[in-house]
Symmetry: C2
Subunit: 597 residues, 2 copies
């Protein structure tokens, strides 16, 4: 078989000749940016070919790549199909990812569904021929036990520990194991998976780790992944499921290994996620989420055996999946609404989770209404020419001053791209300094005086205007298209915001609080949010950040069966408004696109 | 690899050299009688070697085989380990088995746990984005559905059929499938498995078939099989389970094929069996049944998914296992007690199932007491020198007259052995004609006058007396040892009978009815039962036969959820008396050994 040598990773892959270079790399777990999932339309999956022959440069590549790129050997990996030994360089420099893992946790009483009881089984005698099952049932005053317990055990007697889920005996362990009771709380995001190992006796978080959602190789956003499922009816659902399950298992194993905790002492895994991620996790058809009328297969919570989907833990470990509201208001948002106590609000509170989708829940003195805005991935740094995730080397903050451009880079490294918060910061600055007008267009260079500090910040690429963010190494640019992407995202979220208020008949003054949730939201300053106009000026001083409330919700469910019940009730109470189907929405959206608003 | 050619089956087997001939044959599904399970003690696994060399004849073989047998090349297959090509003849002529498949069924209302409902799922719209799960829950006013349903289906709309188990929705089928609803009722005996395919709409038995319990290759009785499990801790439990599951699947497939019924339309399998068979079926440790204090792992009923143990049927087919009372009063007996309405008895009724074990349940105006008597397999024709199962060629009835011996052979074939009812008949006749005395010994030949019609019926083998049952082809003999086996069985059952009556304080006159149950019992005439003294003379006119009440109980549970509940309650109410632990039992047993009693 022919070989690919990746020079900057010092790694050799063998490959079969019928696959695109992108497919080969992804199969080997080498990350290449490919938002369009190999469709040859996004132009992101660039790879530099150092040695070896490939097919001629296609018209698509000529269109999507710059001349200099083509000259230096850069190709789009989804469009080339190698046939012989080649040497390449991977351009994407992904290193450590900065993930927010903490957040606000309301006070609550620990009362996990899972608990243990130690008891004594008497040895049978000729006068007491009680069966093993009956001995246990009698001791605990229960009617029957799961037959798996009978299958797994000998006729135990003496001290044993029963493991219960609510009041059901789900397992038995030999001896007294009361002090070993662990659980896992997980937030599965489209981009990031956060896993937290919990001591269920103390409620303490023993370890936390995260990983990129490995489903990204099937597309960066939920719709691309759903398209992948749709276009590959054979096996794609299993594939989407197994990569996420394996990723979670790997983290759990790793954390347990470090802490010297036996994986068999994990008894419940509690998961919050958006609806698509939840469908994929459980291996349930997610394609309906992607097509009108957007009715999902399920929204209710699920309480099953974790081994049913291949998750590790005790043989009788449970899996709890939090409930959703609709295809686009998932369990992550329900968790957030619960953690933020929206239902108990005595005032008007708006909860917003900004990400690829912006989900908003409005609490009108406890009456809950939600909507989801298709913001697109721009706010997370995707679909942006120099965009990247919030990893080392990403510009996360920008200030434009008369002295020049100040940037802040994650990990204090050389900048290699711009992450979401950086994008927002730079666009906010472009507006503030009037380099970008209220309609979103760059100011014409000829309208800037040569002595103006802003003059050199704009350059022309043919007739297109670009903002030069960094010029030291590789030029980092913000293009007109980048600004448009942010503008679309802003328009989507802001219009959702107004639509909800209007529907609830609440004016801006009556809005008492805006809660910003999520991994990503926590990195967005009120300056940026209001400066760009993602949120209206009037709320500038009403913002509150709750952090990763999705994971917090999963944690609270793990630690309290009451929370589970309350969250299930809450999910029922959140009404959902389909923005696209609401009257006058198109016009509202157009208005909200303006940076002035 | 060396070969074994089986001449009378025209079949060649390859084998590896480290196995006994018995093991090789059993592995190839060739039945060889081996009650002691290859321990070299029963002398039954005879095979005739026609060509090829084997090791020298062992002392054990010299002891267990007759000189003529040794001369004709007969060897004990468990004691020889072939190393080269050999030609053999299988002596066991097993053909069709005669199995009782009908019996008394009390009137009851059909109300199966499993039922279907047809309903209509509306197509979702933008105004009604109800999830698939919610659509179904709303239609049926249920709280949730099994997540497997979500996994197996697309977002169905239009006409669908829901399959319910009690009130739980367990599956969904596309279109209206209301008229296809099948179930299976099974009786698993130690020796025989009876499988009945039921139309659950009409309650009609569509087909019935049976097979030898394939676990017999691990021993003929429960204790030998338990010993096998005990001695082979790795894999034996799975082995015991898979052979019975496969045998049942084979029958179901075959019946469905003949009737053109889709196996996927089987929704419940209901099984009655003795406790050991039930443990083996479910893959649960059965070894405790075999050792004091004889406390089993479980006795309660089980209601699980049939696929959990590998049984075929619909993907969501249920398996119902009837409840037991103790290690030796199994679900088969509980079924029998239910079918015989023991609990409702206004009088004193004794229920008895005669087989390898004799199980007795006494109803004292509805108060129930049971015991189990270790009769041994003699009454079923096992452990008897010319014994065989009730198959074609078996002598099933015998009459001794002045004109000679009249025999009745199953299938009107040449006699090749004696089955259980034949054994009982001949022993009864030996007692009636005083060829056997009350203490069980044969009369001395010198005490019979040469002119007596009985003179030629007794022959001497050395100093041992034998009864010549048939002399036409191969001599069929009843030996002193055979009579002793029957005597032990009779003693065990009769003593159990008396012990129960005594414990319940009921005298013989107050006993109103004796119900004879079981496959085997149905073939035992009152003449034989009373003639030998298995049952006392006083009950001769009080006998009633209910047939295979074990299978009938399984059938009734299949057809009525109420019967399930009632049988579960009944199992709780049957008290169990451990004969061996009861006072004065040894003496009672000794008295009951006499044929006079």
């Amino acid at each position: 078989m022919p070989k690919i040598f990746i020079k900057n990773q010092n790694r050799t892959l063998e490959y079969s000749k019928d696959k695109s270079l992108l497919e080969i790399l992804l199969q080997n777990e080498i990350f290449v940016n490919n938002p369009c999932n190999g469709k040859g339309s996004c132009g992101k999956c660039k790879v530099k070919v150092l040695e070896g022959n490939l097919e001629e440069i296609s018209d698509t590549e000529k269109k999507l790549l710059k001349k200099e790129e083509l000259h230096s050997g850069i190709r789009l990996s989804c469009l080339v199909t190698p046939k012989e030994d080649i040497v390449i360089e991977i351009l994407h420099k992904e290193t450590k990812h900065k993930i927010l893992t903490t957040g606000y946790i309301p006070k609550f009483e620990f009362k996990p569904s899972i608990y243990k009881k130690v008891f004594n089984i008497e040895k049978p005698t000729l006068d007491n021929q009680n069966s093993f099952e009956d001995s246990i049932c009698d001791t605990f005053n229960i009617k029957s036990i799961n037959w798996n317990i009978l299958k797994e055990h000998e006729f135990l007697h003496g001290k044993v520990t029963g493991v219960f889920n609510n009041k059901e005996l789900i397992g038995i362990e030999i001896g007294d194991t009361k002090d070993k009771l662990y659980g896992v709380a997980i937030d599965i995001g489209t981009t990031t998976v956060v896993v937290s190992l919990i001591d269920m006796i103390t409620g303490k978080e023993l370890a936390i780790d995260s990983t990129i959602n490995p489903q990204k190789k099937f597309g960066l956003d939920v719709l691309t992944r759903i398209t992948y499922e749709l276009e590959n009816p054979n096996g794609s659902r299993e594939e989407l499921q197994s990569v996420i399950v394996n990723a979670i298992n790997k983290i759990i194993k790793n954390m347990c290994g470090k802490l010297n905790i036996n994986i068999k002492n994990i008894y419940e895994i509690s998961i919050a996620a958006n609806s698509t991620m939840m469908h994929f996790l459980l291996g349930i058809d997610g394609t309906y989420i992607g097509k009108s009328p957007f009715a999902p297969m399920f929204i209710k919570s699920k309480n099953i055996e974790s081994k049913d989907i291949g998750l590790i833990g005790s043989n009788f470990c449970r899996l709890y999946c939090l409930p959703s509201v609709s295809s686009y208001i998932g369990a992550d948002i329900v968790a957030g609404a619960y953690v933020s106590k929206l239902e108990e609000a005595k005032k008007n509170v708006l909860f917003i989770d900004i990400g690829t989708n912006g989900e908003i829940v409005l609490s009108n003195h406890g009456k809950l209404l939600s909507c989801s805005c298709a913001a697109g991935p721009a706010l997370e740094g995707m679909n942006i020419s120099s965009g990247m995730r919030a990893a080392e080397g990403a510009i996360e903050d920008v200030k434009i001053t008369e002295k020049g451009i100040e940037i802040k880079v994650i990990g204090d490294k050389e900048p290699i791209g711009v992450c979401g918060s950086g994008i927002l910061a730079v666009v906010k600055e472009l507006i503030r300094t009037k380099l970008v007008k209220k309609d979103g267009a760059f100011i014409k260079k000829e309208k800037i005086d040569e002595s103006d500090y802003r003059y050199d910040m704009i350059q022309l690429n043919g007739r297109k205007r670009e903002f030069v963010l960094d010029n030291r190494g590789k030029q980092l640019l913000i293009t007109q298209s980048d600004v448009r992407q942010v503008q679309l995202a802003k328009g989507a979220i802001l219009s959702g915001f107004y639509a909800l208020l209007k529907k609830a008949n609440i004016d801006m003054d009556s809005l008492d609080k805006v809660v910003i949730a999520g991994q990503f939201g926590a990195h967005l300053s009120s300056d940026s949010l209001v400066g760009i106009g993602i949120l209206p000026k009037e709320v500038e001083n009403k913002l509150e950040y709750v952090g990763n409330s999705s994971k917090t919700g999963a944690y609270m469910c793990l630690m309290s069966s009451d929370v589970k019940k309350r969250i299930e009730k809450l999910a029922h109470k959140i009404d959902y408004m389909e923005l696209g189907a609401s009257k006058g929405y198109e016009r509202l959206f157009a208005e909200c696109l303006l940076f002035s608003r």
